[in-house]
Amino acid sequence: MTQSVVVQVGQCGNQVGCRFWDLALREYAAVNKKGLYDEALSSFFRNVDTRADGDAADISRGKICSLKARALLIDMEEGVVNEILQGPLRDVFDSKQLITDVSGSGNNWAVGHRLYGCQYRDRIVEKLRKAAERCDCLQCFFVIHSMGGGTGSGLGTFILNVLEEEFPEVYRFVTSVYPSGEDDVITSPYNSVLAMKELSEHADCVLPIENESLFDIVSKINQMTKSGKLGSCVKQSSLVTSGGIKPTKEKPFDAMNNIVANLLLNLTSSARFEGSLNMDLNEITMNLVPFPRLHYLVSSLTPLYTLADVNVPSRRLDQMFSDAFSKDHQLIRADPKHCLYLACALLVRGNVHVSDLRRNIERLKPSLRFVSWNQEGWKTGLCSVPPVGHSHSLLTLANNTCVKHTFLELKERFMRLYKKKAHLHHYLHTDGMEQSCFSEALSSLSDLIEEYNQLDVTNCGPAIDPPRLKIAM
């Protein structure tokens, strides 16, 4: 089996990453009853004998000794990482996996990307190599970061470049948290647009996530829980409460970050566990990215609050599929149903059969619009291990033109600042940062939006089939 290394950068990256490791441990605790270190565990964790001193070698088989996350924690402030090291997850990381500084990036992409990029490049490469050496088949890097700040956005995308140079064969999946309209960070539109150019050029696949969507989903769940609709049947370990290692007290972002953590767990489940139709990570890009730059995938997770019993009647199961396509289950504020699909993947976990998939695809297909050359653009995966506390779940990944609305909005916010040249000087102070960086990033974003526009335009009318090859008989 293959391994993945998580690179979590900046405050957001590390806070989300922290939730991911917590839930990953909880999942393995539920699945791995024997306490043996197996292939599934090896995909995200090393097994280390901590009694040996020095650079302990990995133990490849047998009982679980001490699990270490295949992760690199990077932040140019110490706060969040220190907190993680004092928290319940401290044993999963060791000091060799960290890179921190004290002064932060001041919400400035240029500081993260240029200044710290130069300064920390060698250290980052060294630690990445170390992590890679410990894998016997490294398949994927998961970069987790936010777009709006300085470290995650700037240094995070710098690392993406480094990964491409140093490990060209290893996939680069990026989970990017986009700022909301009323974000505290005033310069977040600059940071995001500058980061977008890097994502478009150097990632294999980006999973955009908007904080507003996460917030809405969390509110809805809270509301339902309070209003008693779910009443006493809310399980302790439901999707959005932090189970596993007992929560001391929930931090404001925790519930939101759990959603992102679950996205990553479900995305990788079919590569880690058995199923009757496996979906390896390399199949995601192969099936969902028809053109290299259009690699932004809109995701939705269901059921978010249907806390199902063991024997699920069909109707409930079908509801899960319907919800996955509704606007309020998407992890960005977008409506894929009313836009154009280039491709769509359904990753199912648990007690779901091929016939359930077929029935639902056939049911949903008429209400969805697909690009003319990919009318049957569905990819499916069936993983037999359900998520903890549920009998089944669904993750959809859509390559859909609806993502352009997020980009358009971002562009508008960027323009509002850029027209007045507001705060520009903070950026231009940094070595190697010129105004052309801004204009190039802007035109990269505009081009991307235009590519989606083109698809929308050319797929309005009825499609004309290309004439087939003629055979001389």
């Binding site: 088949c137 496996n278 390896d280 192969m286 077929r358 049957e376 055979i471």
Partner: protein, 453 residues
Amino acid sequence: MSVITIQLGQCGNQVGREVFHAISKDLHSTHGLCSRKENDAYQAASKERFFSQEETGVPAARAVLVDMEPKVIGQTLSMALKSGSWKYDDQSHFCQKQGSGNNWANGYCVHGPKHKEVIMDLVQKEAEKCDRLSGFLTLLSMAGGTGSGLGAFVTESLRDAYPTLFLLNHVIWPYGLGEVIVQNYNSVLTLSHLYQTSDALLVHENDAIHKICAQLMNIKQISFQDVNQVIAHQLGSIFQPAYSSDGASQYSRSPLGDLMEALVPHPEFKMLGLRNIPQMSENSLAFSTFAWPGLLKHLRQMLIANAKMEEGIDWQVRPPLPGLPPSQKQSLNRTAHFNTSIANLITLRGKDVQTADLGGFRDPALYTSWLSVQDALAVWKTPRAFNKYEKSASLVSNSQFLLKPLDGVVAKAWKMFASKAYVHRYTKFGIEEEDFLDCFTTLEQVIASYSSL
């Protein structure tokens, strides 16, 4: 004679284990309904074909398991072991860490050359275990990357290494409505390559089998295992021993050779389809009786109306009237959905097989004009009942049955190709646009050939 099965990719391995399971179950069935002597001969022939006797007593499947990821093979080996009645040789498999990612080019251009030696060594080891080897049966799906791409490569390697042996590719045709988005590309690449190397392609369409599970087997929640069991049953019904001529005293000696001889009279036509009757759940089976005339009448109509199962057959379809000029015959065929055959092989198993009248299949109107009925129809029989069915008939046909699905796959792939979507994923591994064009040309030729029957 023996047959070595090569299971490739997730699909090939999941189907393969059900095939051996079905054959093993039939082997040990107590429902044979024939003489002790007959049963012994049948068992001996079947064992020689599919299993080698190991010292431990549990027979080992004559199979090589290949996948580019470890999970499916791990599961397959342990499931076989659990059965207790057969197993896989524990040295006869090969897997890697990460799959081909649904990329035919990755399987064909990268994994193929890289692992050729190991895989061919495993095949040779299996071959050395056989006293007499008839040929190879490869099991693969054409939608993914490993079964399809590596499968095509391995098929070519087998052809080179064993030029005199028979080579039958069993191909799983994907569900029409996607499981793999690039499935039409992968299918076009697979089919065109196999068509040039293999002796014949035996095709199972997932959609058709799915329908059988729903309508004939009455399964409410259908899993891949259910689908695979139906496929395995059908394959068993043609590959288990049968007498290839009346009055023969020995079970057919070269299972694959006899099959090719019966069904592939011309190298331009090598697409084979399989249907069987009756097919039902065990519960219903207990309450049913069958007579040969009824079974064969249905089977004949399934053939000419191109129905994959006995439910929902169009009884209006008739063979064209004799004596019509070919041009008129053709247009008539098309309007009436008549499925013209090149050759058919019928296998009958069970009670009173000698009384079964196959007159309906000897009608020259069923076939092309360039082959006489004697050459176009082969019949195999055995009084040994198969898998709990007192009487059963299966039909392998080389006919126009696949025209529509094939045309659909080529059309969809062509449309995608015109937009250049996903093509960069293939060029990355060395499959260029011209290679695609060659493959399209090959398949358009196949379509044209079958259309002109």
